[in-house]
Each structure stands twice: as C-alpha cells, then as structure tokens.
Symmetry: C2
Subunit: 412 residues, 2 copies
C-alpha cells in the first residue's frame, strides 16, 4: 500500500493567500458593487519594459528557425545571462563571482523552497518571525521542523527570531545553536533592512557556528539608502557562509514571466557526519542537473535585456514608480496616525493595527469600511499578530485612492 | 554545524551525459577534423512550428501593455491551456478529465523527479531496468533507495523490473510487494510500448496491491500503431491508481522552451499510517502552491497553440520527420546485421551491441570508427549493458550519413 509523506499533515489548514481570496470572494458576493482595491499579495502591475519585450520576441523568432533554434540549455542557465548578472549586480558592488557560482532558475520561490533538500534532516533551522511562509512550509514537508504547536502558532523544532516593535523589526540573534539561518532583506513582510554592520554580525555568527545563511535578496532593487548592503557578499567572510537568492520578479516585473537566480560561492562548505567538508555548490549542481532542466531560452534572453542601457533605464522608471507608491502609503498612514515600518528601501509597508486589534480583524474592517485588501500580519507568523502588510505594487491611482479611503472611511 | 543530506553520497560518480560529453570532448581534441554526428542525447533539432512562434510573440506583446499584462498566474497552469489539453489529448481518446486534475509545469523531468516528495520515505519503489535515470536519482536523494551495490550496479531497496531480449523489453512483474511503480511508455531508452491488454495487467496489479503507478508518457505523440494506448486512462480502473506525466518537449520541440503537465485523477488515494485515505491530487496542489510559481505565461500560450488546427498540422509534420529518421535508423541497422528494438512507436532505437561487446566499448568504437555518438545502454541500468541507444531527433542528412557510416566503417 502506497503511504503518504505524513509531514504534510503537520501543515495547518489553509495557505494565507487562499484564505484571503476566500474572504474577498465572499465579500464581493455580498457587495457586488464594492470597488475593491488590492494592496495585498505582492504581485506587480506595471508591464514588462520595452527592451525586455523586444529581446524576448527576438529570442522567440530564433526558436522558429533551424539555424538558431535552441533545445536543452544548460541546467545552470546560459552564460550570456550569468555574465550580465555578475557584471551588473555584483562587480558594481566590488564583488567578484565566477560563472559557475550562479544558478539561473524559474523563481526564488522554487529556489528557497527546494534548497533545503541538500541539507541533512536534523539541522536546526532559524527563521525570523514574521517570515515569508515558503521557508517554513518547505521544511515542514521535508520533515525538519517537528510538530506544529497550535497554542504558540509555531513548530517545535524551529528557532524563531522575533522581529518586534522593540527591536525595530531586526531579528534577534538565536540563543541556542542553529545550523540553517533564513534571512530576507529588504524584508518581506516588514520592509525593513539591515545596515552593513548589522549584517556583518550575522556573517560572524555563521562563521563561528559553521551555520549557513540562506539570504533572500529578492527586493534588492528597491534599496535607496547608501549604508544598506545590496548583496550579502559586500560583507567580509560572507562567501564562506552565505547563499544568496535573487529574482527578476519584482526587479523587472517577471512575476508571470518567471526567472530568478541563486549564488553559491565555491568556498561554501557543508559537512557529513564524519566531519568531512563538501562543496554546497557541487551538491546543488547535482540536484539541479537531476531534477531541473533549465529556464526557457526566451525568458533568459528577456532577463538579460534588463542589463542593457535601455533596459536599466526602463526598470529604474518602474521601480521609481513603485517606490513613489511606497512613499504615498507610508506618509499617508503616518498622517492618519498609524505606526509604520518599511517602505523606504522596500515595496512593503508594515503597519501596526490600531488599538491592539488582531490582524484578521483589521483585515475584515479594512475590507468592509475602506474596500481595501491587504495582508494580515498574523499570516506571517506569531509575531506578525497585530500587524498588517500593504504593498506598493498597485497602480498610482489605486494607491492614492486606497490611502484616501483609509484616512476618511476607517472609523476608529 | 550545518550537515549535508548524506543520501547524495550514495549516488555513484558522474551522470551519464556528463561522461559522454567528457569522452566526446577528449576525442575532438585529439581529432579536431572529425565530423562527429550526435545521435545520443534525446534533444530535438527541428525549430518550433510557426503557429507556436506566432502565439508566443502575441503573448509577449500582451506582457508589454498594462491592460493585458499578466503577473502571477495560477500555480496549476492557466485554464486556457488545461482546457485544450483535456479536449485534444484526452477527450479524443474517450477519457474525461476535470480542470483541477491537470497540473502544468516546466518539464516532465521536474515533475517525475519532484513527485516522490509526497510519498512516505519507506515505500518500496519499482523501476524497469534499463530506466530513465531521473526516477532513480531523485529517489536516492530523498533517501528511499538504500545503498548502491557496486557489484550489481543497483540500489539495495529498489525492485528492478528487468527488460531483456527474452521478454521483448517488456518489464517483468515484481515478485515482491511494491508501492510505487515507475513505468514509461513509449519507453526511454528501449523505444518499446505495451498493448492495452499488457498495460491493463499493470493497472490490475496496482489496484490489487494499492500501489501507485507513475506513468511517464512523454513520447506519446510518436505512437503509430492502433493497439497501443495513448494514455493509461484508456485502461479501465487506471484513474484509481495512475498518475500520468506528459511533456511538450518532444511533441512540439519544447526542450528549450519548457512546458509539461501531470494528470492526477481525483479518485487516486494514498494512505497515512493509520490507514486513512488522502487525495494525491490535493497533496500535489499543496506541494505546488508552496514550492512552485507556475509556468511563464508566454510559454503556456505557446503550448496552447499546438492544439489549433495549424499547430496540429505543423507538429504532425515534425513528428513525421523524426519518425522517418527512426525508420531509416531501424531498417539501416537491421540491414547491417544488428538486432534492434523500438523505433516504431518511439523516437528511440535500442540496439544490441555485436559480439556481446560492452556498451561503453561500443560507444568508443562507434565514435572512433564512424564518428557517431550514441548513448551506452549501461548508463540506463544493469540490464542495459550490452545495448546502445540511438535517437531519431537528428537532421535527416546526419541520420542518413550516420547509418551509412555504421554500414561501411564499422569493422566487425
């Protein structure tokens, strides 16, 4: 008799965004005329820039001619894209990377979810709280987390690093030993960042404990302040302890086009039970060549176009557009008397609910009174309770309208 | 200290196709003028058909305009593609499927490799021998196979189903209980198929043992004979026990474009240790929504175009072209005195090496004497030893030239 992976039974009920969709659908059925504005899920609204469209169509045309047709590409990604990434995203920050230290993929969601496969099942993992649910759920499925404690809203074997009002949403250091540390900066959901010195403390911690940092940097393009590192490899020693995940989803509007990449420096070692060191890069190579077949060629050609002079200019315009939305939300909420985090170096604004209202209660109130949909902080972890996430990815018109409604329609 | 997944240490040395690449490179360095013809790796050479190119460019244009831009799509795939799949690939064969029984993905390699995640680690798996290495290696990484026995060239806990000259390359039934059964028809590497009655015996076996059949049907489009089922669901009872994997890679030249799909009927149940039944479909939904973010929209639009009248006509021409290559290889080798399997309902020809020569010895001889590169059967499993795979995916000119050389240049 075929038996299931029972770790799946440890996952609590519904996924955050399914529950949001359910409540919105119900509200719309009851209020068909309500003009709902969605500032919830982190999906972009601006179209792909012209340079990307042009490059992608050219690549599609190549696929239609025998002389230029491309079949299986390298599982790791094409060199033309990897070289552009190294040149533009790293060399400009003083970071040198080799071609075989970068793996192109179909998304940072896939990569951050799959990467744990090459780790032993008994490693202790740490995540910030609140946290992007994918890090946790993928490890639950693998059997690395222990059981779910319904009272705490936490898994027994995960070390949670609280991000609170008191510590300015900067994750607390673990007080017990951890092996795998998921960090995300600029952070989803809080929108906060670490300075280079703050990040260096994490690198030092990992070097001391032979832990590995899984650094999700999907929102790097939104950093505006000078003292915020663009990549963890700006920090000395990070090459020995950190993997970095990047994505074109938010940088260039690729949420529906699908392309991302992961950096694994060759110095980065992981150990077997005899204490022998193994290259994490080579383990991932083996994983990817066995279980993945590379990203669509036209998609990789499209991604490479963002590094051309026109591409750079065009994606900058889009990012500026979203960051102006972030400013409008941030300042609007502050004027309306809410306490807010983020929105300066990130497209996310993390607001404290008024009067210690629960996240889901505030979700319902905001939807019913202002017809605005956001994301309840509680969906990101126990310490997200009492907070609420808004995103800057809407249209300007909707963003302004939403803030106006929050200012005028929300009875306090 | 971060510890690795030590199951990776059980994988023997190099991956089949890396070893082939190494030997070819060495030979080319030593013989720079040799005009090498590759009939080895199963990659296509014909370009994408015009209907696909047109649809994909149209979809790319949509991504460039705010009104038609698409961000995150459904993880399961767009309905427009799923509806075309159901209508054309299943309804025409008398099989009814619901929209939520199909999951669109970036490749059958990813799906067949990842699907084992939702199974318990102690299930006993069966594979044919020879076999597509991905089924085995993905389960090794997960820890389901036990250790590798170097003498046997097999893993201790896998039940191997020998495909031999004696049984006409049709996998023998297991003599001990198995829970997960990987079957691939038309088969890679042997190119052989099962009749509907033969496949029914597998479905009956699975129903009796509450096993699950993981049916890889990536080469379905190449079936020519009437009594060969196009889908396992033509067999009564298959909906209760079989998952079917399909791909656009070979059907429509998508090896570099990346699109595939997996069918999981809702009747299909898997059990927990208390004996309670759980829907396999719902488990995969949870896995995909957590660890995958859907296939690129332009790629899905491209895939849907193969179901238009022009698309159907165009992909038929390409498949006819490859199957004419298959006929040329099959008949040429037979004339040259080799014993061959496959090539009638599949783009693969599985030949017996002459004089009980080892697969790798024949590989070297064929490369050195005829400058033709194929795939050593031993790379697909212990029972592949003494066999050799050629593929019909080359150009007509190269295919004819390769067969001519095999006829004239191979000293016997």
């Amino acid at each position: 008799m075929a038996l299931m992976n029972e770790n799946f039974l440890k996952l609590p009920g519904s996924y955050l965004f399914s529950e949001i969709a359910r409540r919105v659908t119900q509200f719309k059925n009851e209020n068909p005329d309500a003009d709902i504005i969605r500032l919830g899920i982190g999906d972009v609204t601006r179209p792909l820039p012209p340079a990307v469209i042009e490059a992608m169509k050219k690549a599609v045309d190549e696929m239609g001619k025998a002389e230029t047709f491309r079949g299986y590409g390298p599982e790791q990604g094409y060199n033309f894209l990897i070289e552009s990434i190294i040149e533009n995203d790293y060399k400009t920050r003083g970071v040198t990377l080799d071609i075989d230290e970068i793996y192109v993929s179909d998304g940072a969601k896939s990569d951050t979810a799959n990467f744990q496969e090459i780790f032993g099942i008994n490693n202790i993992m740490a995540v910030s709280d609140p946290v992007y649910p994918v890090y946790v759920d993928s490890n639950v499925m693998a059997g690395r987390t222990g059981n779910y404690n319904t009272d705490k809203g936490q898994y027994d074997n995960i070390v949670y690093l609280p991000c609170t009002e008191e510590n300015g949403m900067k994750p607390a250091f673990p007080t017990t030993h951890v092996d795998m540390i998921y960090l995300c900066f600029p952070n989803n959901p809080t929108g906060m960042t670490l300075t280079k010195n703050e990040l260096k403390q994490w690198v030092d911690y990992a070097r001391e404990h032979k832990s590995i940092i899984l650094y999700d940097s999907a929102y790097e393009a939104f950093i505006r302040e000078e003292n915020v590192p663009r990549t963890i490899y700006e920090v000395e020693g990070a090459r020995e302890v950190a993997v970095e995940f990047r994505s074109f989803s938010k940088t260039a509007g690729f949420t529906g086009t699908r392309c991302a990449y992961t950096v694994i420096p060759k110095e980065l070692m992981i150990y077997d039970s005899k204490g022998e060191a193994h290259s994490l890069n080579k383990l991932w190579l083996r994983r990817q060549t066995t279980k993945f077949n590379g990203v669509s060629y036209p998609v990789q050609a499209a991604a490479a176009a963002i590094y051309t002079p026109e591409g750079k200019k065009q994606i900058k315009e889009t990012i500026d557009y979203y960051m102006e939305n972030a400013r409008i939300i941030r300042e609007g909420l502050t004027e309306a008397g809410y306490e807010v985090f983020g929105g300066i170096n990130a497209p996310y604004i993390w607001m404290k609910t008024p009067k210690q209202m629960g996240s889901w209660e505030f979700f319902d109130k905001l939807m019913k009174e202002a017809h605005v949909v956001g994301t309840p902080g509680a969906g990101f972890g126990a310490n997200g309770e009492g907070f609420f996430r808004l995103t800057a990815f809407g249209t300007r018109e909707n963003t302004e309208k939403a803030i106006q409604r929050i200012k005028t329609k929300m009875g306090k």
